[in-house]
Amino acid sequence: MPKTIAPKKVPMPKQEPFERIRNFDEVALGFTPELARREAERCLACKKPYCVEGCPVGIDIPRFIKHIAEGDFKAGIKTIKERNALPAVCGRVCPQEEQCEKHCVLGKKHEPVAIGRLERFLADWEAASGSIEKPDIAPSNDRKVAVVGSGPAGITVASDLAVLGYAVTMYEALHEAGGVLTYGIPEFRLPKSIVRREVEYVRSLGVKLHLDYIVGKTRTVDRLLKDFDAVFIGAGAGLPWFLEIPGENLNGVYSANEYLTRCNLMKGFRFPACDTPLKRARRVAVFGGGNVAMDAARTALRLGADESHIVYRRSRKELPARLEEVENAEEEGVIFDYLTLPLRLIGDEQGWLVGIECQRMELGEPDASGRRRPVPVKGSEFVMEADASICAIGNSPNPLIPMTTPGLTIGKKGNIEADEETGRTSRENIWAGGDVVTGAATVISAMGAGRKAAKSIHERLSGSKKP
């Protein structure tokens, strides 16, 4: 008998908007076992599961969902971990509607299965159970690998190689590991305790972690190669872009990196209990429409802004952010100024931002990206009041490593060029992956790149004799 399927996902319990804009606690509260099983029952267990094709690391989705439906959560998390070392993170921040859930057959008629929420449920269940299963670690093979950067790409390479018996040392420039997961994505979307738990897990596999270590400065990559058989560069895309319009050096003008780092890494939201200050602004304007912009605008609300605006030059349809986060931002009262382009930042005598001259746009013909190109409307200039602006229009890789590593081929946007399938760079024994290769992308694609690089490093080092 064909089962009847609930057309909609089981809703995720969330903190109410009026409540959550006053705290930094996680917005989405997660499924209970009952809710998880109810959602799992919506899955058709397809023979040819299209959802798996949409997952960059190829998790056996129908199998883990079946385990949930049967109440065998232990088997479920094991299934996920065969493919994904950071399920608690991915379940929360993957753009599922573009990936696994986009391909789910249910999505044709109904809402797709809530794969991300189920993944998150299992990861949280395992953490709460207190017994995290560790994979078998191969005996030491006497080979040493250095991993630069402790973001998702670096973490994946380090854990994959540690399991294969390599002595792995991870170098991180900041005083906490995790990359963007630690300094960029806010607490209310990804609690830092989860990131710390994942970092601890990697260390429990025997990976050594050196913090406050800036490769290219403290030691160059070539210096590392004297002690290591291979170096993987997963340094991310941390160099902030500005709009390059007049007034960007006024006080009150931030890059999203600065704003979010002050708040997340430096715990500025606890100032003055913590020492790093973060100003309270009344009217905040965030430039951009991606996840970073949503995070900044929602952080500003929580820090007490009266109004937090997203200033975006296209329309809602083109917003690159995850839909769920756009909806959360809307619920919380973030004001979206679509089809608006900032032209100039206006300051007062003391050099403080007081307003932004903007121009209205309209959508014209589609451009190379297939999105309709915004064109300025003549004579539509106006000034919006603002005492803080946050630029969230993108990042590119930091030049520190490219500048100090001769022979490494660098692309036009400052990215390190690496083979898509193996992560090999133009230099023997140097691999790279994640945002440093692709430019700002996603957590799961950085992990995918890390996985491929680990495989390639293993093939290379195990296939050759130790010199």
């Binding site: 420039a173 406050d212 780092t261 002050r262 100003k279």
Partner: protein, 277 residues
């Protein structure tokens, strides 16, 4: 965790801090800085490197106690540990043979210009040091300078040592001392570096300053340290901190430095160097 080897007040309000950090001594150069965090909830603050001992693996900075973080550091004792000591960061001061170089140091900059003077001397330059402070009791390290500089001059606002007055007397001092420098390197508080640049510009003497904006990461990730040099935006932590003082937009720089003035209590602002910031 990094172990403090020495922390002592060398003149009122200025402290010498020596930390065990062999990974820093391995590649440190004059003009570099380190990022220090005094405790778990502490800010990341930049401090210039004033000296190092490669064999012992220790690095020394001179810091002025101004706000929360430097006050915490001032309470640390030898043997204590601090959670972050990262570096070396920033571009090194360009060391080559210029001829005669005048090294101007004030406040903590007396410390940070010392390794610059030493390296310039090793590169075959004639080095002249000009150390300035409000009063003679705020000068330090004269002996160290005497070992690398041809002449070590002093300038105090109250005239208690050397020349009397402000750093704006620099052109006159150059004439009186018959010095025609090919390069001036100035380290110290923002006001001093700005004034040195202002008075040397008409003289056409190239002047390098070691800029000290607000910083967080010190690696080019946040952009808070940006300043305008020759009409272009630069990140002091990776493009500098050394810049041509004649090209810096000082007015903008001073405004940006004051961003957090209302938030940061500066308990000791009235003592020490009155013109700090």
């Amino acid at each position: 965790m990094y172990r403090i080897i020495e922390r002592r007040m060398i003149v009122p309000n200025l402290h010498e801090l020596t930390v065990e950090a062999p990974q820093v001594t391995e590649s440190v150069r004059p003009g570099n800085f380190v990022i220090v965090r005094p405790d778990a909830d502490g800010e990341r603050i930049p401090l210039s490197v004033a000296d190092w001992d490669a064999e012992a693996g220790t690095v020394t900075s001179i810091f002025l106690q101004v706000g929360a973080s430097t006050s915490k550091l001032a309470r640390r004792r030898p043997g204590d540990t601090i959670p972050t000591y990262a570096g070396p960061l920033g571009q090194e001061t360009e060391i080559r043979k210029y001829g005669t170089v005048l090294c101007v140091g004030g406040c903590y900059g007396i410390g940070s210009v010392y390794p610059v003077a030493r390296a310039l001397r090793e590169a075959g330059n004639t080095v002249i040091a000009l150390l300035e402070a409000r009063s003679s009791y705020l000068l330090y390290w004269q002996d160290k300078f005497r070992s690398v500089a041809e002449r070590t001059l002093e300038l105090t606002r109250d005239g208690s040592a050397g020349y009397k007055g402000h750093i704006t007397r620099l052109p006159e001092i150059l004439t009186l001392e018959k010095i025609a420098p090919d390069l001036i390197v100035a380290n110290g508080c923002t006001l001093q570096m700005m004034l040195v640049s202002r008075v040397t510009k008409p003289l056409g003497i190239k002047t390098i300053v070691n800029m000290n904006p607000i910083m967080i990461d010190g690696t080019g990730m946040c952009g808070v340290c940006r300043l305008t040099v020759a009409g272009k935006t630069k990140f002091a932590c990776v493009d500098g901190p050394d810049f041509d003082g004649h090209e810096v937009d000082w007015e903008e720089f001073l405004k940006r430095r004051k961003t957090y003035n209302p938030e940061e209590v500066h308990p000791l602002r009235k003592s020490g160097c009155a013109s700090h910031f």
